[in-house]
Amino acid sequence: MSFPGLINYWAVAALMMIGFYAVIAHGNLVKKVIGLNIFQAAMFIFYISMAKVRGGTAPILDDDLSVFSNPLPHVLILTAIVVGVATTALGLSLIVRIRDAYGSVEDEEIRAIEAASD
């Protein structure tokens, strides 16, 4: 792995935006949640990238090693991953309910149904 300065932060940014775009532009509710997952995964990579130290190793102490990557972001991201999956689960169960109530999981169709029933 080379150390290309900021480029991999930029890749992370691009990744985030792919997810973010899916969230706001796609009408399918499942797709929105998928987008959310990509968005968050990119955020995880961002944290883990900043923890990396050149020439370091995983932060498991060993007398032979002296340079470790920063453990703190790892901890944060462990938490964030779990929070993310919890959100996903909740979002998906809402989708199931919405499908029951409207017979659709497409944003525009739901809107149309709503407009028709008013």
Partner: protein, 182 residues
């Protein structure tokens, strides 16, 4: 680096796929790639978790959902107004992100603030203070144990929530039932 490239490509496929099933499977692949990347970046614990939670649990959840709802996404209506606003928002956010990266410490720089403040103590003292070689575990369980408690609470909340929303074969819409309060 290549890995990141792969990631971006996979993400694009995930988002573009009309078939949600394909999307979800690719999403699982995406998570595995992310886990691999974490491995490369020396975040072993996180890699394991991502593989288990992201690639495993999430995929199962998604599959279950699309089995219950529609497996296909409707084509996005090519209306320009609809497309323009998201592009603007995403563009602005992207610009802000890139703007933000400009003054960041370089990737892997051992003298970045995060490596010289707070974290060293974990690396230097935790062996004596906690006594576990895995610093991530030490921090997780002890220094920032409270976050972990919060994390458990989040899972608890979500589990309860899912139970309330779709537990016990509830169907919607149901007729309003007049519940008599004792």
């Amino acid at each position: 680096m290549t890995l990141l490239g792969f990631l971006v490509a996979t993400a694009l496929f995930v988002v573009q796929a009309r078939n949600l099933f394909v999307s979800v499977i690719l999403m699982g692949l995406f998570s595995l790639l992310v886990a691999g990347l974490f491995m490369v970046l020396d975040a072993v614990d996180v890699a394991f978790t991502e593989a288990a939670v992201g690639a495993g649990i999430s995929t199962v959840l998604f599959l279950g959902t699309i089995a219950l709802v529609a497996p296909k996404e409707r084509p996005v209506a090519p209306r320009s107004r609809r497309q323009l606003l998201p592009f603007l928002v995403v563009g602005a956010t992207f610009a802000l992100l890139i703007f933000g990266t400009l003054d960041m410490p370089l990737y892997g720089d051992p003298n970045a603030p995060i490596h010289v403040y707070v974290a060293p103590r974990y690396l230097e003292q935790s062996a004596t203070e906690i006594g576990i070689p895995n610093v991530v575990t030490s921090v997780l369980a002890s220094y920032r144990g409270y976050d972990t408690l919060g994390e458990i609470t989040v899972i608890f909340t979500a589990a309860l929530g899912v139970m309330m929303l779709i537990g016990r074969g509830r169907k919607f819409p149901r007729r309003r039932r007049e519940t008599d309060e004792a």
